[in-house]
């Protein structure tokens, strides 16, 4: 048996409408329901084996764009490291040249 106040509310449709309007529900973002369904479907799929993941990574790496981008990035990395080393080497050579000019006793055998 319903409590007396609920039966009163059920009987009064106008009062119910007023109460619903007094507590508005927030608007859901667009595509919310579709996103929920997608997540549910993904959760139900079995785990992808590691072999397939590796194959997919390799296939992605062999695509021209990632391969070219990777090669360019590695070449830039190597060139910048080499340039830095070249600058250091040339500085050392210039320093040795000056020291040899002003202090021949230090550079002789």
């Amino acid at each position: 048996m319903n409590p007396p106040n609920e039966s009163l509310l059920a009987g009064d449709g106008h009062l119910g409408t007023l109460l619903r309007e007094a507590r508005p529900r927030p608007e859901l973002p667009p595509g919310f329901a579709a996103a929920v369904w997608r997540r549910l479907e993904r959760a139900e799929l079995p785990d992808e084996p590691a072999v397939n993941r590796l194959d997919r990574v390799v296939a992605w790496l062999l695509r021209p764009r990632p391969a070219l981008a990777g090669a360019i990035a590695l070449a830039c990395l190597g060139a910048s490291l080499g340039a830095h080393e070249g600058v250091v080497l040339s500085k050392q050579a210039a320093q040795a040249r000056y020291v040899a000019a002003v202090s021949p006793l230090n550079t002789g055998p």
């Binding site: 072999v51 590796l54 194959d55 990574v57 390799v58 790496l61 062999l62 990777g70 090669a71 590695l74 070449a75 830039c76 990395l77 190597g78 060139a79 910048s80 490291l81 080499g82 340039a83 080393e85 070249g86 600058v87 080497l89 040339s90 500085k91 050579a93 210039a94 320093q95 040249r97 000056y98 020291v99 000019a101 002003v102 202090s103 021949p104 006793l105 230090n106």
Partner: protein, 166 residues
């Protein structure tokens, strides 16, 4: 799986080769381009940020110092030749002439070092104060540091121990 692993291994090799080749080429090019200068003072100009006027002053000091340095070096070379001749003439003995020649060489080397330090002082004064101090410290490290290391090694406990065995 096996094919993917092979491809990954090959990719790793190619990546290493790309990095290595670009590193080597860039290093050689940079070292060659930057070390191409035939100026002995290029290092001073770049390392101690010398202006044109400062470099000109340092160049004058450098060119004034070199003949004096060469003169002492020539005298040391003569003394060394005398020493070699004395060694060749003596039969496994340190004669008084050899001792005197060794002392003469030591005195000339000391003169050479004193003159060199004097030159470093003059050059440091031709630079901005902070750079001058840095130059002086660096040159003392580069020219006198070698002898200090050698002397420390010779007078260290390990060497005393070695002497104890002989």
């Amino acid at each position: 799986m096996r094919r993917s692993l092979l491809i990954l291994a090959a990719a790793l090799v190619v990546c290493t080769a790309v990095v290595g080749a670009s590193y080597f080429v860039a290093r050689q090019c940079c070292a060659h381009l930057l070390a191409n200068s035939s100026d002995d003072l290029e290092w001073l100009r770049s390392e101690f940020h010398l202006s044109g006027t400062e470099l000109q002053h340092v160049r004058q000091l450098h060119e004034g110092y070199l003949p004096k340095c060469r003169a002492i070096c020539a005298r040391i070379a003569v003394k060394k030749q005398e020493l070699e001749a004395e060694f060749a003439a003596s039969t496994n003995q340190v004669t008084p002439v050899i001792e005197q020649t060794l002392k003469d060489i030591a005195v000339l080397r000391a003169q050479c070092q004193a003159q060199m330090l004097q030159h470093f002082q003059e050059v440091s004064q031709a630079m901005p104060p902070a750079e001058g101090r840095r130059y002086l410290a660096e040159m003392q490290r580069l020219t006198l540091g070698f002898h200090e290391q050698f002397e420390n090694r010779m007078s260290g406990p390990a060497h005393e121990h070695e002497h104890g065995h002989h």
